[in-house]
Symmetry: C2
Subunit: 139 residues, 2 copies
Amino acid sequence: MTIEQEFFNQYRLMYRPFINKLNVQLEPYQLYSSQWAVLRFLKDKGPHSFVDIANFMSIEKPSVTKLVHKLLELGYVETMAGKDKREKLVHLSAYGEELVQEIKSHLKPFFEHALAGVAQQDIEIATQVFARIYMNINQ
Amino acid sequence: MTIEQEFFNQYRLMYRPFINKLNVQLEPYQLYSSQWAVLRFLKDKGPHSFVDIANFMSIEKPSVTKLVHKLLELGYVETMAGKDKREKLVHLSAYGEELVQEIKSHLKPFFEHALAGVAQQDIEIATQVFARIYMNINQ
DNA sequence: TTATATTAGTTAGCCTAGCTAACTATAAAC
DNA sequence: GTTTATAGTTAGCTAGGCTAACTAATATAA
């Protein structure tokens, strides 16, 4: 087994336990990890269109429609007019802003526990590896 | 944003593009990445029961039933009697053995391309980080 | 030794988180 | 002014899981 194969084996093996545990953490907020990813994107990058969200998350437009409509129902986000009559910009509501802050605090110990015993430098190295793979894979 | 949050953001962001590209690579063999994970497990660790597969992959027994039955249909695996009349051991068929070898060779350049420009040492560090998280998360 | 509890695998039916195809409304390009 | 492209939606599909409830076989305890 090459180290590349081993890397991707371990990468994938970790995915489901991680997502399952994350979803448990998010349950009090009526959120799944995919919806949380949208909120985090809006928090970090500000208001963006449905297409922007699709591109950022590497998913298709109809998937974004579903995610955002659920977040609208929950009152966590709102839409406003975009640069023309077709485009709609999604942004966090006042309530959503508060909630995202709260969730971030709530998740902090979970993430720290997950990475317990890992050197800060190694976390940074691994993070850069992800970014590089993302780039390589999308040419 | 803490480095822990950034780590998990990047981790998740990479997942879908990676799995989608991997599934394209596996298409000629009529396999999806989850089915491939089962074959790889059987190749690496030898014949195992449905419960063993469930534990290893962190999924439930009914999910294993579906995956293995698909692999049986394709003729890639076979079952044999286990240590008692309840248990069934799954193992690669002769054809499956050959195929797994072929797929591994086929995937090699894909993995190398994905990790192009990443130092061997950093790949190893990241792999160990995954293993540690897996351990931390499952107590 | 029987009654009870546990374990291995299956079936049915559900959910998340995506997808494609086809559509409407609007905008851009020719 | 017609064609082409873009933003978002709808309908209906799939992968890849899940829980609940079941059967058959085994282990435990009275």
